[in-house]
Amino acid sequence: MLHSLKYAFITTVKNKNTFVWTFIFPIALSTFMFLSFGNVYKDELVMNSIPVAVEEGVEETQISVQNFLEGAKQSNGDPYFVVSVLSKEAAKEALENGDVSAIVTTEGLTPTVVVNGNDFKEEIVITAMNEYLKYKKTIDDITADIIKNGIAVESGAGVAPEEMTPEKLAEAEAAILAKIAEAETDEQFFNETSLAKGPQNIYNNFFYATFAMGCLFACLGAVNLTDKLMPGRTPLSGRLNICGTSKLKMVISQMSVNLLVVFAAQMGAYFYMRLIGIELTDDILAVAGILLAGASFGISLGVLIGAIPRLGEGAKVGIGVGVTMLISFLADLCTTGIKDSIERNMPIINRISPAALISDSFMTIYVYDDYDRYFRNLITLVVMAVVITTIAIFILSRSRANKMMLKT
């Protein structure tokens, strides 16, 4: 067994494909993603204030909009918007020069928004002004009710409907706004609570999925090693099949070495990612557990695919790549939202999808500190790996070629 292990190790580490896909790929991919996300990765929750021009117009509207925009604050206390009150021409020029992201016109009682593009800053201004208009409509509805039914303001200067004039209406509206303003308080009636106990960064999902993909790509090496043990495939497989060592021993040796190599490569990628500043858990034992279980699954999947009789190695590698890509896609490596959508519609897939289990395990220990869920994921991966390996070894042990694919 030691003999088989020794040479399985040498052939594995000296294989260029293994080296590239196992060691270089996760590091290259994580570096590429880290560079692509750039500052967004680090500054995701803190945004620069958006410059907005409020046009000079109806004074009440102008002041109302200005107060509304200036009152909007980010979680760290910074304002969402920096408001400048400008003339119509100056505002237009500022927008064209890119000095402001939007203009809010205040020529009537209802403000409008002018933007010069559709990136996220403009979207934020439009969203904010929509909120403003909803707020204003509420006030207008109350005012209309006043017109219809009259109102007794708190000062006691009641106005009957038949005595209502536009001036009095404006006074009433101002009085209502003043009351609302008086009633405004910084007191939080609801505290924002999150299940998350650690920092959340949506971009981390990509890095978790990178680990998942790295573990699953181990299946390609396993396809190759298993194919070598299939009778009738190549002269080398022929020689290995007639040798005096059991196939089970050879498969287990190769799997063990592959597991060790993939695990080492994934741990290396983990340390590398932390080194370049990606936020990952510092619970190394837990990470090792995930990666070991994930790599076990990837390798067992490869052994099973490699054991499919009557298929060439190219077809088997194609199946391996296809399955890996599909599973990675379902776990959000390619785009966000798929995993959430699956969670809402068919959660069972996320419970058994290996890539989802691997990335979820990372999130579980880093963000939620939920070790029950972590161990459930781990056990699921290991059980699936054991079942798949058992099936693969059963197929391998019974395999004899119907047709020789090798030329002898």
Partner: protein, 312 residues
């Protein structure tokens, strides 16, 4: 008589094609047994069935008296294979390759070390031990391929067309090596479509065609199966009808052709046929040139039995 391999009524079909059709074969211990046949005759299928690499439909295969099964590793330890294509690991050096394959049969470290050195010396790769296969020439690669197949000192070795695409010098080395292995006690099964090689090294030969054994025996025994034992040809312009009559009536002559100055006489037996022809021509003072005496080859045997050339 101890048999190394016994194949009894073996049938192997590839869908409609019958690759082996109730094929029978026995190989004696200690002999070089040649499997000779044209491409597609079933040689490789036979070997792969014996090695349990290939499923077969009917029949029995016994190796050293035991039924050959894929899981009989003790039996497999007594078998070595040298495929036509090189079957080694590109990532390992010459020594590592030989050591790896030897280690799949021999667990004792000291014995294995000795075996590996013996094998490397046997094929003459002492100076290339640290080379990886990619750095070896075609001939050296073949030698490595052989070393990997025989390092564990098997009692039964299959050589499947080991000299295809090999230069003449390497081919001679390989053939000499095979005979040396036989002399050391191994039983060799040698498949080839090169009749000269088979005739040169094999103790017994089985001729295959269309998945059947058409003839078995030593090279001489096979040749004795043909009517023709010798053909004499010579060039002369001076033969008359009387001369041809005399030549046709020489002992063992059964066919005579004389066209365009080329005389050809076929004999069914005899050792002094050429002397008799030459003596007659000298007596009659008939000038002649370009004299050839051709004894039958295995190709002639194959041609006579199957009606087609071995290399068709």
């Amino acid at each position: 008589m101890e048999y190394a391999v016994e194949v009894d009524k073996l049938v192997k079909r590839y869908k409609e094609l019958v690759a082996l059709d109730h094929f029978d074969m026995t190989i004696r211990e200690g002999e070089i047994f040649g499997l000779l046949g044209p491409n597609g005759s079933g040689k490789t299928t036979t070997v792969n069935c014996i090695l349990s690499l290939l499923k077969y439909d009917k029949g029995e295969i016994r190796v050293f008296g035991r039924e050959m099964k894929p899981s009989d590793y003790e039996l497999k330890k007594q078998i070595g294979v040298v495929f036509q294509e090189v079957a080694v690991f590109d990532e390992l050096t010459v020594r590592e390759n030989v050591d790896y394959f030897c280690g799949l049969y021999v667990s004792d470290k000291a014995t294995r070390k000795q075996y590996v050195e013996d094998a490397i010396r046997f094929v003459g790769l002492e100076n290339y031990e640290k080379f990886v296969p990619g750095k070896l020439s075609g001939g050296l690669l073949r030698r490595l391929n052989i070393a990997c197949g025989i390092a564990h000192k098997p009692k039964l070795i299959f050589f499947d067309e080991p000299t295809v695409a090999v230069d003449p010098q390497s081919r001679n080395n390989i053939l000499e090596g095979i005979m040396k292995l036989r002399d050391m006690g191994a039983t060799i099964v040698y498949t080839s479509h090169y009749m000269e090689e088979v005739e040169q090294i094999c103790d017994r030969i089985l001729i295959m065609d269309k998945g059947r054994a058409v003839a078995t025996g030593t090279a001489e025994e096979l040749k004795n199966m043909t009517k023709n034992r010798e053909t004499i040809t010579l060039e002369t312009d001076s033969l008359g009808e009387e001369d041809l009559k005399v030549l046709r009536e020489l002992p063992h002559a059964y066919d005579l052709k004389y066209e365009g100055g080329l005389l050809s006489i076929s004999y069914s037996a005899g050792r002094n046929n050429l002397v008799r022809v030459v003596n007659y021509l000298q007596e009659k003072d008939i000038a002649f040139t370009n004299v050839h005496s051709k004894v039958p080859t295995l190709n002639d045997v194959f041609l006579e039995i199957t009606g087609k050339e071995l290399r068709d």
